[in-house]
Symmetry: D2
Subunit: 337 residues, 4 copies
């Protein structure tokens, strides 16, 4: 932490800040510039709030030096984390394809899709039983019945399943069925929920919030990690920007940035990232080319009748084509699929 004094700060003000720094048990390191004095705070100052010093008289601003996250940081854990999901390794050399419908709508819809995505090359099945919907008048998911169908689809196809959990009290229920607990974009700062999944030992798939900075997102991962659950995957799914031609703006930069900053596996979700099925394959390939460890893709056998997200769902044959394209690309990127 660096404390920058104002242009016209007096020697007394500087002395007061230094003594305040020392009160907290840190060392203060003074540096007299030509226009400003700056004071370095020596020690792990993560627990201190900026305003503690920013509000002292004569102080202009406080600049943070240390990254706020530790457990998620590659600084302290240089090797990639590889997570075992019922035998499927996630985060290693092999790419992971998660596919399935946005919502579980019926037994037949789920089974048809599960078999189709497995055949097309998916290794994990997705499907929502509890759905966050912006309108109270929209379909809200089948609930536990949907979870049972997912378990049945897993039994039939052998694919591990991932499904979203939306509230702390639903964690035990969803955890009974799911191989991966998904935290949706709108819950990325639902701290009660992050605490709850951090207490489980089930892998967590943490989507980026549509307005989360990469820093904040990693802090949300830190919540789960600090609860003792070390199996966290991150998924870039598009952020909100001024552009309205697509539903969100997939932040492709975030993928190689995360691979630098953190050891956790990184996914791309081009279905939400674009909101338009016509753009899903192109941007899915882009995510892999940028270094993602896998994709999450919404697939529906009859998108026009889907109860949610039909506009961004691929039909199984399009998904199959995408996997085939990725099988051509993977070796050129040093990956397998």
């Amino acid at each position: 932490m660096i404390i920058v004094m104002k242009h016209n700060a007096t020697p007394e003000q500087i002395k007061d800040v230094v003594s305040q720094v020392e009160t907290f048990g840190y060392k203060a390191h003074l540096s007299q510039g030509t226009e400003r004095t700056i004071i370095g705070v020596v020690g792990d100052d993560r627990p201190i709030e900026n305003h503690t010093f920013e509000l002292l008289s004569g102080v202009d601003k406080v600049v943070r030096i240390l990254q706020p996250f530790k457990l998620a940081s590659r600084d302290f854990h240089p090797e990639n984390t590889v997570i075992d999901v019922r035998g499927v390794p996630v985060g290693g050399q092999q790419l992971t394809m998660i596919a399935g419908p946005c919502s579980v709508e019926s037994r037949s819809q789920l089974m048809e899709t599960a078999h189709a995505v497995k055949e097309a090359g998916a290794t994990i099945l997705r499907g929502g039983a509890f759905k966050p919907r912006s309108s109270p008048y929209s379909f809200q998911g089948l609930g536990e019945e949907g979870l049972e169908m997912l378990a049945e689809a897993r039994e039939e196809t052998g694919l591990p399943v991932i499904t979203e959990v939306m509230s702390p009290e639903a964690v035990p229920l969803v955890d009974k069925y799911a191989d991966i607990l998904q935290i949706g974009a709108r819950n990325v700062q639902n701290y009660a929920l992050l605490h709850a999944v951090g207490r489980t030992r089930t892998p967590v798939f943490l989507k980026r919030g549509l307005m989360s900075t990469v820093h904040e997102w990693l802090m949300s991962a830190e919540y789960i990690l600090s609860g003792g659950n070390h199996q966290v995957m991150l998924c870039e799914r598009g952020i909100r920007t001024f552009e309205t031609a697509t539903r969100f703006t997939l932040d492709i930069n975030a993928i190689p940035l995360l691979k630098q900053w953190t050891h956790l596996p990184v996914f791309g979700d081009p279905s939400h990232g674009t909101g338009k099925w016509e753009l899903v394959s192109a941007t899915g390939k882009a995510c892999i080319a940028a270094g993602a460890d896998g994709l999450m893709i919404e697939v529906h056998p009859h998108p026009e009748t889907a109860m949610s997200d039909g506009a961004q769902s691929l039909k199984p044959e399009k998904f199959g084509q995408l996997v085939a394209d990725l099988r051509l690309l993977a070796p050129a990127l040093g990956r397998t699929l």
Copy 2:
């Protein structure tokens, strides 16, 4: 809902769309333009998803005509909703000043602040007992102990109290103490929580999400209203933009826009909206000049030692000065304070 056909849509494609519209029980109204055909869907099509038609062949896009919210809309409820909070009317001619510390930190800190804001002109006391924090290493609030202190402060000062609730399972507990349940910006699309507070009959203070459009925010209000709880207040608290000189960008436009679109009371929160105490008074006056029914202001007797949000907290005397300024402004705006 208007269905816009592609430039080169065939008569068969148009016929198919029309027949699909009729399948859902709506009437289709065809309009042949010089470059495009458009098809109007006649009926309350709110329950239909856009993609149901967007994915039919020959369709270019779907345009919504109806506002997605109903209960929150002034169209169907032209008069202002005025909410009675233990005798304090909110949403009428009189301005409402909510003030207090970001977090309840100790009995003495809360009592000192409560007395000070009352004397300065506040009519409702705020204070957080459960705190959403972006870092798991930061102070997370005193929990029920904090709620008890709030109840005690109410008893001592007569001010009704507002405090945040962060998860559905905490609603019964918080509801036992609070006169207004606050939903924070990061929970504006925590639908499980919206459902839970919609089932109470306690007034709800719904902050705008930092990533919410005004439409989405009103849809979140609709969740609460459709649960049968009609006492909802809205609070603009700044959105996230590219500007980093302030913590958020207070969306002043949203205030008169909401007064047009909805009958619910509208507040401004210049503390979060700016993140800098030096800007709070100026932007607080701006909110009132723009038509807000009241303000929520963070006040702390010793901001530099605050456990959260110190940088944006006013000292009691600054808050008193703001109220004094507003008392001068109010008559010029046809309001009382």
Copy 3:
């Protein structure tokens, strides 16, 4: 400038950075933290690019300490700049009302509007002769003919005139007619144009770019100031955000922030800032309450036939009402009108 070394930087890397700092003639000030070493650069390092040090091995990042602008800064010019525009003082205690049509469309339209806004209380007349339009198929302005009409309107009403200049080569022509040269939002980083108006001695009205941070905007002002033209006014006119319910998001925070950071006069433009005439009066009052020195308002006698920006133009009587409202507010804010 602070150079933050990487977690694992070696003593040799640190030594290299220090010696590089000294090569440029600065002093290096070393501070050894528990996790990182930081190196302070002592001297006016504004001319140095960040990457000069950021690319040296072992360096994590560079943090700037000094504000990048000087002439615009209140640090070096504490008193408000008051600009005399043909006898109208701008930036002092008295509020300035600039009003008129978006585009000069015809002699009669301009004269009718000029007389109307004068009567309603405007002190400066606006009108565009050269119009930046996003479509090449839209009305582009009357050019010099429009400038002549503006001069005639000035003669008839006594109001000084402000009009936009869009390219360096048009500066001499526009400067012949205008009392204030307006730089539009889309030209805020058109450096050739900033240079050109910086060489005149005519007051410049610099609108914020829809994508400019406050810092960048002040740097654009610095371009004009460093050309020797000290008469610069700033005008907040809305930034682009994710919100689509209004045309732009008027950044109300920027107004008090600018009054802290700079000595230049600050205006609000609620017409562009909202894009909806129904919101103009409320947000215009908000700008003044937040500390703006004046407003720029689009006024048109028949907005529905306007060749540009009709949706955000007030009719003269609505503008008159706004001025009347502001006359009530001004004394409560310590201003006159």
Copy 4:
């Protein structure tokens, strides 16, 4: 254009709108919904402003149906435009690599870089002679001297050259030297400049503005095309968002979207799109995987001494590695390099 009437519009108001539509020579097509009446305007209504109808009484809003651009649209020009740049085809099956320094700094720096990028696989040389800089105190480019060096580098290496033009009056000068005229992000709505390059017959490289929607960007292309210059290339270079961990957010979605909407060649610029050289290769590969026709990459032999954009410049060997990687990827994408 669809005119949506208010909930409570009267039959007289509807009649007035219809008659106004007919006054402009269009046909009005009435559709009576259950909650609202909507009026379709039949004809090419691109020249009409929205507010012409939006301001009539009883009207709620106007919705546009037609895309605002025509010459740039794939609707009216289905085949890809392939541009011949001194024998280098741009926009066909073969990928185009544009590389070189941000600024031309000296003869030796340019020649060293030109030879290096040619050897590494670039087919077009970039280099800035006139530099848009946010600070008036930064290096502004060598001007005509720089252009002469570029011509000399072309002679020596055989590579066509691209360089930026910043003002209309500089177009004749820059056009004398350049094979492609670059319009920078900050000038994407500098209409005087767009007009000027539209009058030349030299290929134009139009960067996206950092706050341009894809629609607006294509309208800027339309300015050039409507001037009679049909050789326009588009370059995605990152937009401004709330994320500050990277300099801009490269909008990967825009690449496949543009390939759908327009016939013009599409490039990616991962140097500006990320602002960090460590992210350039990964995101460059992503652009190509998403369907871009080529890349523009900043290359500098000694980035730490670069006079601009050093932090985002690749050294020649890193650039060579990127081209080698792309040569592996290209066949898997049906492209050549």
